[in-house]
Amino acid sequence: MSNPILKVENLHVNFNTYAGTVQAIRDVSFDLNQGETLAIVGESGSGKSVTTKTLMGLNAKNALIPDNSRLMFKDRNLLDLTEEEWQSVRGNEIAMIFQDPMTSLDPTMRIGMQIAEPLMKHRKMKKEAALARALELMKGVGIPNAEEHINDYPHQWSGGMRQRAVIAIALAVDPEILIADEPTTALDVTIQAQILNLMKELQKDTGSSIIFITHDLGVVAGMANRVAVMYAGKIVEYGTVDEIFFNPQHPYTWGLLNSMPTTDTKVGSLVAIPGTPPDLLDPPTGDAFASRNEYALAIDLKEEPPFFRVSDTHYAATWLLDERAPKVTPPVQIQKRWTRWLEIQGQGAQS
């Protein structure tokens, strides 16, 4: 039932800097299906935020995108749009929720007005009608006593309430694609739980597709239908949420899953990924993760691995999946996940 609303093909983004050209995105392709939540996970510098900025046409002026990169949305290549054309897409067909609700709201503008603004701009609503709709939206995202607070300024609100306002702004015009860039990273866990529930419910109501950017695998497990793992400007593995969490194949995905303690991680079993991500001014030849990867093969240093098929929905770019590669035993925690995967598969076959 894949029905892609957005197709990203061969995306490259380079930034010219004084130090040289930073290859921030190095050949990224993915589809976003209608009504699904796709999570993009990775560390800072992996290119997840640059990917979303490109999708919103918000890249810095020194960004260079080669001609063969394509972002297909409704039979248009978004990369061909002029700034004027972008303005009818941005905040209208594609909307974004930013990480920090303090900096993404205008401190000098009343919150009700900030929610009404996209309605007035994109839907050509009159001010009164737009403010009335803003009030409904505020109630929809769970702001208590919305009538009293519609004329408040952002500084009068707590972080969680502000993030609700940001979500209301993003949802005001019923976007087809919602990009959420670490929407709960700045919030407390209890508030995070509320916001994530809210997002899930709103998605059920509106049927919009969500690209969810985060580094928190716990949040991914609860929110996503599919997951793409990014490292050093590339997607290294993608699949359904169950495939990534229970049948991970790329050693980087193993490392990410292992470096997050769950509440029952035993003392001493937290395994860190050694080293730091590579410098994208001069990306290493071969597999960019090789230098931090204890499972690296000789070929990883010479040649970049292609995507190997694990299932129709699950692909991983690691030479370990090549038929000539030696069989490796993954870390214990990952073996446990694989066992769970077999159990889940078994249940699936029975029912």
């Binding site: 995070q192 716990g218 860190a272």
Partner: protein, 312 residues
């Protein structure tokens, strides 16, 4: 207990710290908090922003002046230390800050940042001894010698946090307060820093107060945990007891909000809402030992109720 009781290194006795005391905008940042930290343990303090956990850390190091109550360190009252005595105290108690970008002076070389405590306390006789100490510290935290002549901006977040740790260790402290030391770091780097802190704790028999809002990391690193909310300590116990058999409804609510990296568990997880009336109805509550070593802030009836509801 069969073993002999461990030695108390830090004791907070009915500590209160009010900002704007007596005014309309009075904030009770620390509201009658009492707990001990034993020598050699890692004590985790969790709570939401505004719960007062950071203020407690700062009050112990005398970065804030308490309104009332006592702080004992190694049996001595350090609540109102000043001047030379305070300097001496801070040699044994050090802090690692949350934001390694903001807590390192960008115009000082790493060597001088790390050696600042050595200089202030005159712990090195001459320059070569000072350099040697700095190099040992760098090695200890997994950096190398030529990093000493660089500036903080030349390092990644994880490396900067290592510099912060080296600086804290420079004066050979007994006790370290780590205030959200990993919150600003990437997941893969968080594990590196936490493992380093754990290793250093063992090798130097350090005692930590580990303040964080990332509950799974606190559970992983801590021996005992205290849960704070609105300036009050609501529950205290061993990491296992607090996480697996929580007593206070707030702790239960907090734990139910942690996302778990497991889609099956996540699909079943339900966030339990917290009813704040158990804090705001004005009844007299105190710490009650519901199980050995596991305390909860409650009235007698509530404590009995919490205990009967405890999951086993």
């Amino acid at each position: 207990m069969t073993e002999e009781t461990p030695k108390k290194l830090v004791e907070l006795k009915d500590l209160q710290l009010y900002f704007n005391k007596g005014k309309a905008n009075e904030v009770r940042a620390i509201d009658h908090v009492t707990f001990d930290i034993y020598e050699g343990e890692i004590f985790g303090l969790v709570g939401e922003s505004g719960s007062g956990k950071t203020t407690i850390g700062r009050a112990i190091l005398k970065l804030h002046e308490p309104t009332a109550g006592e702080i004992l360190f190694n049996g001595e009252d350090v609540t109102h230390l000043k001047g030379k005595a305070l300097l001496e105290f801070r040699k044994s108690a050090q802090m690692i800050f949350q934001d390694p970008q903001a807590s390192l002076n960008g115009r000082m070389k790493v060597r001088d940042i790390i050696a600042e405590g050595i200089d202030i306390n005159k712990l090195a006789k001459n320059k070569s001894e000072r350099d040697e100490k700095v190099q040992q510290l760098l090695k200890l935290v997994g950096l190398n010698e030529d990093h000493a002549s660089r500036y903080p901006h030349e390092f990644s977040g994880g490396q900067r946090q290592r510099i912060g740790i080296a600086r804290a260790l420079a004066v050979d402290p007994k006790f370290i307060i780590a205030d959200e030391p990993i919150s600003a770091l990437d997941v893969s780097i968080q594990a590196q820093v936490v493992n380093l802190m754990k290793e250093l704790q063992k090798r130097h028999s350090l005692t930590y107060l580990f303040i964080a809002h990332d509950l799974s990391m606190v559970k992983y690193i801590s021996d005992r945990i205290g849960v704070m909310h609105w300036g009050k300590l609501l529950e205290i116990g061993s990491a296992d007891a607090v996480y697996n058999h929580p007593l206070h409804p707030y702790t239960k609510s907090l734990l139910s909000a942690i996302p778990v990296p497991d889609p099956e568990v996540e699909s079943l997880r339900k966030h339990v809402a917290y009813d704040t009336t158990v804090e705001t109805d004005g009844k007299e509550r105190h710490m009650i030992e519901a199980n050995p070593g596991h305390f909860v802030l409650a009235t007698d009836e509530e404590a009995a109720l919490y205990k009967s509801q405890q999951s086993l």
